[in-house]
């Protein structure tokens, strides 16, 4: 305990703060960019495979194949595949890009499935009515079906995003300077593991907690019944 107290001022010095701050930034950026891009792509996949919107069998098969494969591969394996794929392609990219790409690919597969389930939770008769009134598939999606799907789509998406934030720690394996990697470096510098991992634990918590708050806000924001008088 005394050793711990004695370590604290040294641990929280300016350079270490910058270092951990940077790691926090990378974890956040990796999660944020990966999830945003991934969810947008996954949303596109779910729309592509929906028979009331697009009638192309090829699009549907492509979307389903991607979703079903990528949903089932562990994060670490995906990370390695992306890493070697970039190497093979000869593109010189940072490890950070490799990690963000992996997060995005994972989120896309999950979102595709999750959005599909959300769209399917809306009764077919809503599509029928829209179609009978000459509403196009995308208009019906935006005006009728999606507003009713959000309550099904958002909660699992947010749970998944929190899971992904945690998975980004695996990127330390390929040397991305993110929170877990920073903790390793700090322990190697001789600081106690308790202090190092305790610090990043707090930071992971801050990140995931903010995400949960955001989810709660989004849920009320997109609640189709929100305009109703009580």
């Amino acid at each position: 305990m005394d050793r711990l107290l004695e370590e604290i001022p040294r641990f929280f010095n300016y350079y270490n703060m910058i270092f951990i701050g940077q790691a926090f930034f990378y974890t956040t950026a990796m999660s944020f960019i990966g999830c945003t891009v991934g969810f947008a792509a996954g949303f596109g996949l779910a729309v592509m495979r929906h028979e009331r919107i697009f009638r192309s069998l090829v699009l549907r098969l492509l979307a389903i194949t991607y979703t079903e494969i990528f949903r089932r591969i562990p994060f670490l394996v995906k990370l390695m595949v992306v890493f070697f794929a970039f190497q093979l392609s000869g593109l010189e990219v940072s490890m950070f890009t490799v990690a963000v790409t992996t997060v995005a690919l994972s989120a896309a597969a999950f979102a595709s499935e999750n959005v599909r389930a959300g769209l399917e939770s809306v009764h077919d008769n809503q599509w029928d009515a829209a179609e009978a009134m000459n509403m196009g598939g995308l208009t019906a999606l935006r005006r009728v079906v999606l507003p009713q799907s959000w309550p099904v789509i958002i909660p699992p998406s947010m749970t998944y995003s929190v899971g992904l934030v945690k998975s980004t720690s695996i990127a330390s394996q390929i040397g991305v300077l993110e929170l877990t990697y920073a903790a390793k470096v700090m322990t190697n510098k001789g600081f106690s593991a308790f202090l190092c991992y305790g610090t990043i634990l707090v930071l992971y918590f801050v990140l995931c907690f903010s995400l949960n708050r955001f989810a709660a806000w989004l849920e009320t924001r997109l609640d189709p019944t929100r305009h109703r008088p009580a």
Binding site: N125, Q126, D128, A129, A130, E131, A132, M133, N134, M135, T139, R143, V144, P147, Q148, P224, T225, R228, P229
Partner: protein, 245 residues
Amino acid sequence: MTQLVIDRLSAAYGATPVLQDVDLTVERGEIVSVIGPSGSGKSTLLRVLVGLLLPVAGTVTVAGHKVDYRSRRDLRAVRDRIAIVFQQYNLFQNMTALRNVTIAPTVVKRRAPAEVTAEAETLLAKVGLADKTKSYPDQLSGGQQQRVAIARALALKPEVLLLDEVTSALDPELVGEVLDTIRLLAREGMTMLIVSHEMGFVREVADRVLFMADGRVVEVGRPKQIFDEPQAARTRDFVSRILRH
């Protein structure tokens, strides 16, 4: 003038035939009531007409134009002319009654919102729902929902209105309200195809009655003919059953 010609129309869900060689000609302003046992294909007939189910054979001619249900242009055109009120109403659950009525005219037909809203309010008043414009479908009774669905269909200014089971899902005291609306439309000369088993109403409002069973037309005639002197045995059975009911 002839508004609608259905000629040897057949349709199927997968491999199960649901409509077989259905023939019907409807004059402009005419009201034809479709009756028949549950599962006889009445809803399916209406769905085929608005292009929600592709026919496997036969033709539909609307206002002199033969409809190719595979062509997007024809689909758009036919849906501009024919509006449907579904058996389950199919109101958009995320919209108020008023929005349900205004959405297609504003979003699909791109008409001016102010003008459309004024029209929609008039229509909702016409079906007796002036005080329910801000209610959501799940805050309305079945009869009220059905009348919103009728207002929504009318906002599209159709030439032909298809009404599926306009009375069966309603409490007896609500039947009156919906039927009043339909009588009003009848007086205004709207062409209608009405699925209804409300015998008194059908007698009063329909010009002709079409009796269907197992996806086929069994008999077509004046209401008096169908109800009082049915020719086919199946019609007699069915009519006596709903009369006793």
